[in-house]
């Protein structure tokens, strides 16, 4: 779960990292109540990257300009994401900008500091990146190592190391995937200040991070409406632009099924992993949400039951057919209780295809023809 900049900064401040004195507004007239002087920075609060390039950050020299810019920015959509609010800050006095982050390094299997002596950059494309892995228990000397590698000495060395230590602490305590300060600013007065911040909370940890309970619903903006609903129901849906709706059990099998659809001349409309051990209710939800996509011609259901019971899937299919008897479908159902499932589906008009490639080819043929060939 991505947090908004203003939320990330509140957390930084809680952990003792200095941030600009920002105010969040949702209406232009709220600018009148702001007590710090002009010029001001107005920043769109959106959950996508590339905000600056998309014109989501503006500077105002006075209230009049501020109100007109605020109205404009509040209406701005960036990469399809609506602006949630604006963060208003005094324009910072910047001597230097750095990059500082903690994330998980999947190769090393441990947390890692990433730093750069240039800030405000896209870290993937930067050449001056310094990394310091944290393979065991964190100790503050690791943050000092980082400050040294970034080239600091004297009072600033301690300030940078202290900031990195605090960043690590919040990364660990809040179960984050990423805690990023970009840029971390050194002011004219040699203070260290988080000018922009990004926090990604690990989705699997939200259940034990009580402060984020209920936050997911308002942090789904990088998803389509259906993807968001699926996520809240505990299913993983990714929508694409094809016309064959795909539902499988297991992430690997779902990806492989998408790949086969493409290989045999079809266009996948989505990835939907109904998960291992899904019951009839969850499977029915999966069928319904895929069916809602107006671009769908055919639904391809590919279930290989390990822990998923085929009769539970069949129960959902029987229900679904009652409501949507004309929906073209290709169904492959194999594994646990498959004979029971076949009996349950005997009157449904659906033929069960045992072979996976045959099922995919059937779906592609149905998607590309006018008459339903999968129905007896």
């Amino acid at each position: 779960m991505n947090l908004y900049e203003y939320e990330a900064k509140r957390i930084f401040a809680e952990y003792g990292i200095t941030t600009s004195p920002g105010v969040r507004i949702t209406k232009p007239e709220e600018l009148r109540k702001i007590h710090f002087g002009y010029p001001l920075t107005l920043k769109c609060q959106v959950l996508v990257g590339g905000r600056g390039k998309a014109g989501g950050i503006k500077f105002a020299k006075d209230l009049k300009e501020g109100e007109s810019l605020a109205a404009q920015l509040l209406a701005l959509e960036i990469k399809g994401c609506k602006t949630e609010s604006l963060l208003i800050e005094p324009k910072a006095s910047i001597k230097r900008e750095l990059y500082l982050a903690v994330t998980l390094d999947r190769g090393r299997g441990c947390p890692i500091f990433i730093g750069s002596a240039e800030g405000g950059i896209e870290i993937e494309s930067s050449e001056n990146v310094i990394t310091v892995p944290v393979p065991g228990k964190f100790q503050p000397y690791i943050a000092r190592d980082l400050a040294k590698k970034l080239g600091f000495s004297g009072a600033l060395f301690n300030k940078i190391a202290d900031c990195a230590t605090k960043l690590y602490k919040l990364f660990e305590e809040l179960d984050l995937d990423l805690a990023e300060i970009n840029p971390l600013v050194i002011t004219e007065g040699d203070d260290v200040l988080a000018l922009d911040g990004k926090i990604i909370v690990n989705d699997d940890a939200i259940g034990r991070q009580k402060r984020f309970t209920g936050w997911q619903e308002k942090h789904l903006t990088d998803m389509s409406v259906r993807e968001g609903r699926a996520k809240l129901a505990g299913l993983n849906l990714v929508e694409l632009d094809g016309n064959i709706g795909i539902i499988c059990n297991g992430a690997g099998l779902t990806m492989a099924t998408m790949d086969m659809v493409k290989k045999f001349g079809g266009r996948p409309a989505n990835f939907l992993d109904a998960g291992g051990g899904s019951d009839a209710e969850k499977t029915l939800f999966a069928l319904e949400i895929v069916n809602e996509n107006p671009d769908i011609e055919v639904i391809l259901l590919n279930i290989l039951g390990g822990i998923t019971a085929c009769d539970e899937v069949a129960k959902a299919l029987v229900e679904f057919r009652k409501k949507h008897p004309n929906r073209k479908m290709s169904v492959r159902l194999r594994g646990n209780n498959q004979d029971v499932a076949a009996k349950m589906l005997a009157d449904s008009g659906l033929k069960l295809i045992a072979d996976v490639e045959a099922a995919v080819k059937d779906a592609v043929a149905q998607a590309n023809s006018k008459t339903p060939v999968g129905v007896k």
């Binding site: 998980l104 999947r106 190769g107 299997g109 441990c110 947390p111 993937e124 393979p135 065991g136 660990e172 179960d175 995937d177 690990n202 699997d204 940890a205 259940g207 034990r208 993983n236 990714v238 694409l240 499988c248 059990n249 297991g250 992430a251 690997g252 099998l253 779902t254 990806m255 492989a256 998408m258 790949d259 086969m260 659809v261 493409k262 290989k263 996948p268 990835f271 992993d273 291992g276 290989l304 039951g305 390990g306 822990i307 194999r334 594994g335 646990n336 996976v356 490639e357």
Partner: protein, 293 residues
Amino acid sequence: MILIDKNTKIIVQGVTGKMGASHTKRMLEYGTKIVGGVTPGKGGESIHGIPVFDTVAEAMSATGATVSVIFVPPYLCLDAGAEAIDAGCELVVVITEGIPPQDTAKLIAHAKAKGTRVVGPNCPGLITPGQCLIGILPGVIFKPGPVGMISRSGTLTYEVALGLTDAGLGQSTCVGIGGDPIKGLGYAELLTAFNDDPATEVIVLIGEIGGTAEEEAAAFIKENIRKPVVAYIAGQTAPPGKRMGHAGAIISGGKGTAESKMKAFKDAGVSVATTPLEVVDAVKKCCKQPVTK
């Protein structure tokens, strides 16, 4: 032998939970030597004819088990895994999905320090057909034979195993290493084990998008593996930046694409299949013995 055989004695952590209990029953039916279970507070009870203990140490000393399989809920796995490691388990298999990755990182670091091998988390487990099944794999799909398998995906393992078995090609051992970005045993350790295993003739590697483990495996194969390897990568049509079900299956910053992984394998002389059933054809070509159905 890869990690387990017919004599391996196993305990189940979380044995009285819904998942733990039902899969304990299935493992016992398969013939796996499940000798005990652990649920704190339920020591002295029994389930499916096996004794339940309060602690792993107690269960191991009473039963002689050397392996633990973990079915406890995600937030309890770090504790349960550490208990198994400190009690002296040689192998810990973590089935649970949804463990926060920082917990997994701590668990794996602990295991490395103690020399314990971990399979998973978020995996189906492993099977040596006809001898031992640990985890949630459907045993009926697998048959003994010459094909070794290493996979990041559960159901895709079943799909390929089903294709192999239907074609008369059994399996020596199949190991599901799990779909999480941070995990225990990886490709290199298992490729080496299969390379040294007299029962394995061909190695099948099933990867998916995300990370660079497959690229590293390709380089490792080129240097170290003399048996034929067939690779398959799921997610050739996956869009970038989207998590495809598994926590580890995401293309980020242009890294982790199926294309890059398939190219790395081709460059390393590995046979690359584009669908699960093509894996079966490629394996057939590699087998020394004629296939008898």
